[in-house]
Amino acid sequence: MKKLYISLIFLFLYAPIFTLIVLSFNASKTRAKWGGFTLKWYFSLFENEAILQALWNTLLLAALSALIATVIGLVACIAMQSMKKKTRALILGIANIPMLNAEIVTGISFMLLFISLGVTFGFGTILLAHITFNIPYVILSIQPRMKQLNTSTYEAALDLGANSLQAFFRIVFPDILPGILSGFLMAFTMSLDDFIITHFTKGPGVDTLSTKIYTEVRKGIKPEMYSLSTLIFAAVFILMLLVNYTPRKKEK
């Protein structure tokens, strides 16, 4: 029963992914027609410098923005713990604003801000924007865990002579680590996926995969994009299996 339920959800989540994987082997250039099996899109992918450069930009952007957002978000969550309820609600409210706005409004308001500051558009401006919209996802992931924290263990540690930094890293940190991890991952993912905000904050010649794909929609997605997605999927999947199974083998 439980297994059936999980399998159905997985089917739902992964059906489009398998479609994309199948499309990456489609010899026909259009997604509407099956033209036979081919590997040619995988070869042409590695000759396509523009796509590879976009991939690099995307990953770098996602990693940097997620990392910085996680640090800012975590620190803000810690600070919030010692605040009064009202102040905490206010800060949470502010943090959520980027999520409340339609993306396009956030994108345009960033563009206006950067123009008025006279900043040159490029990688840096995209990074600033991504950090900003990533922070709420981090806070939303960490905050519920923080709320459940049992403060008495932390205080007990302090009473036993640990300084607050030690107490934090020994007691609090392990407890909220899953929240931090999921916040980081979510931020990373949001950054990978974003198009609209990136579009309005990017400069000429700096492309991410999303901006490349969106411009391609006009003339049809290049099959190389399907093969790239398949490779990314495979890479992450293998990584995931390694991370998950290596320590268990040791236990045995």
Partner: protein
């Protein structure tokens, strides 16, 4: 202790920010040391050029092309207007060029620096351009085409000659319409014999009502998804740009393209140079290069949108395509073809209001 932690974090953050901002002097900075390495900043439609031609340009001139793409004229406009990232060459459509001229965003071209343009591009295209660029001061035609109906011969067995077939209940849930304000309103306007640039409220009211009546029959309002959907046989009739028609026919021979007898829109996308272009000289070199017959031919074969470059058309080997009625229709056979004009801010608002009302009934 705690204070130093705060300081440390702040420091790390600022360092991160600074390194982030500073990491792209080559990509973002136009005003810097451009004497050292020459660049040209090009802003074009997505997938609207053969990438090979950019490489050839770089090799021949030593000028690096910084290439950027947009999805619609309207997304491009604020970026050029704001001037936050200065481009040398942009490729907007007719009515948008008119708007940019009116708002003083473009600079006049020096035709002596672009000899290939006047030499290779057909005179009739410059004549057409007069409609939005009087005196041909600002724009060099790059691609052009018409809007028409693409239909699937296996699903439509009557001859398609009129826009009115899009109101035929036989084809309910089998019709694809364009999802853009100007293109969709053009159809009932033309069907009723009005101008596609009309600002007459009664005429627009008629057009609006027609589209409201049509709404239940339409399968979807799409832009470029129309290609894949027609190839896959999802719908019987679709409104499409002529440039897409050649490609879709190649993929699915059952498809046929017609320009309805009531007339339609003929459009031109042209190269222009914005006022704040960092290097007008490189821009003109780039435009001139794109007007070379061999280059124009490469681009035509890649994107399949009709080229106004007569010399390039002569070079097309496939006779069927060279004389294709779809790629190169004889416009004298289609008397009611119209170029879109910029309607002014109020006109834009009026059209947009009508467009929204189509969907609120």
């Amino acid at each position: 202790m705690k204070k130093s932690l705060v300081l440390l974090l702040c420091g790390a953050l600022t360092a991160g920010m600074l390194s982030g901002c500073g990491s792209d002097p080559a990509a973002g900075n136009n005003s810097g040391d451009k004497a050292k390495d020459e660049k040209v900043y090009v802003y074009n439609w997505g997938e609207y050029i053969e990438p090979e031609t950019l490489k050839m340009f770089e090799e021949e001139t030593g000028i690096t092309v910084v290439y950027d793409e947009f999805e619609t004229n309207e997304i491009m406009y604020p970026k050029v207007e704001a001037g936050a990232s200065a481009y040398d060459v942009v490729c907007p459509s007719d009515y948008m060029i008119e708007k940019m001229i009116q708002n003083d965003l473009l600079q006049e071209l020096d035709w002596d620096k672009i000899p290939n343009a006047k030499k290779n591009i057909g005179a009739q295209y410059f004549e057409q351009s007069e409609g939005f660029d009087p005196g041909n001061k600002y724009s060099v035609p790059y691609c052009w085409g018409t809007v028409g109906i693409l239909y699937n011969k296996t699903m439509v067995d009557e001859p398609v000659t009129s826009w009115s077939i899009l109101w035929d209940e036989k084809y309910a849930d089998n019709i694809l319409m364009q999802r853009s304000v100007r293109d969709i309103l053009m159809i009932p306007l033309k069907l009723n014999g009005y101008s596609a640039n009309t600002l007459n409220e009664e005429e627009l009211e008629v057009a609006k009502q027609a589209l409201i009546d049509q709404h239940p029959l339409v399968q979807a309002y799409v832009i470029d998804e129309v290609r894949d959907k027609m190839i896959g046989g999802e719908a019987a009739l679709g409104v499409i740009y002529s440039g897409e028609a050649i490609y879709t026919q190649r993929e699915n021979p059952d498809l046929e393209y017609v320009i309805p007898e009531e007339g339609s829109n003929v459009w031109i996308d042209s190269w222009v140079i914005p006022k704040n272009a960092p290097s007008k000289e490189n821009a003109e070199k780039f435009i001139d290069f794109m007007c070379r017959p061999d280059i124009a031919l490469m681009n035509f074969e890649y994107i399949t949108y009709s080229t106004p470059n007569e010399a390039a058309r002569e070079l097309i080997e496939d006779e069927e395509i060279r004389n294709s009625e779809i790629a190169f229709p004889d416009l004298s056979q289609h008397p009611n073809m119209e170029v879109f004009n910029y309607l002014g801010e109020e006109g834009d608002e009026l059209y947009n209001q009508i467009y929204k009302e189509i969907f609120s009934n």
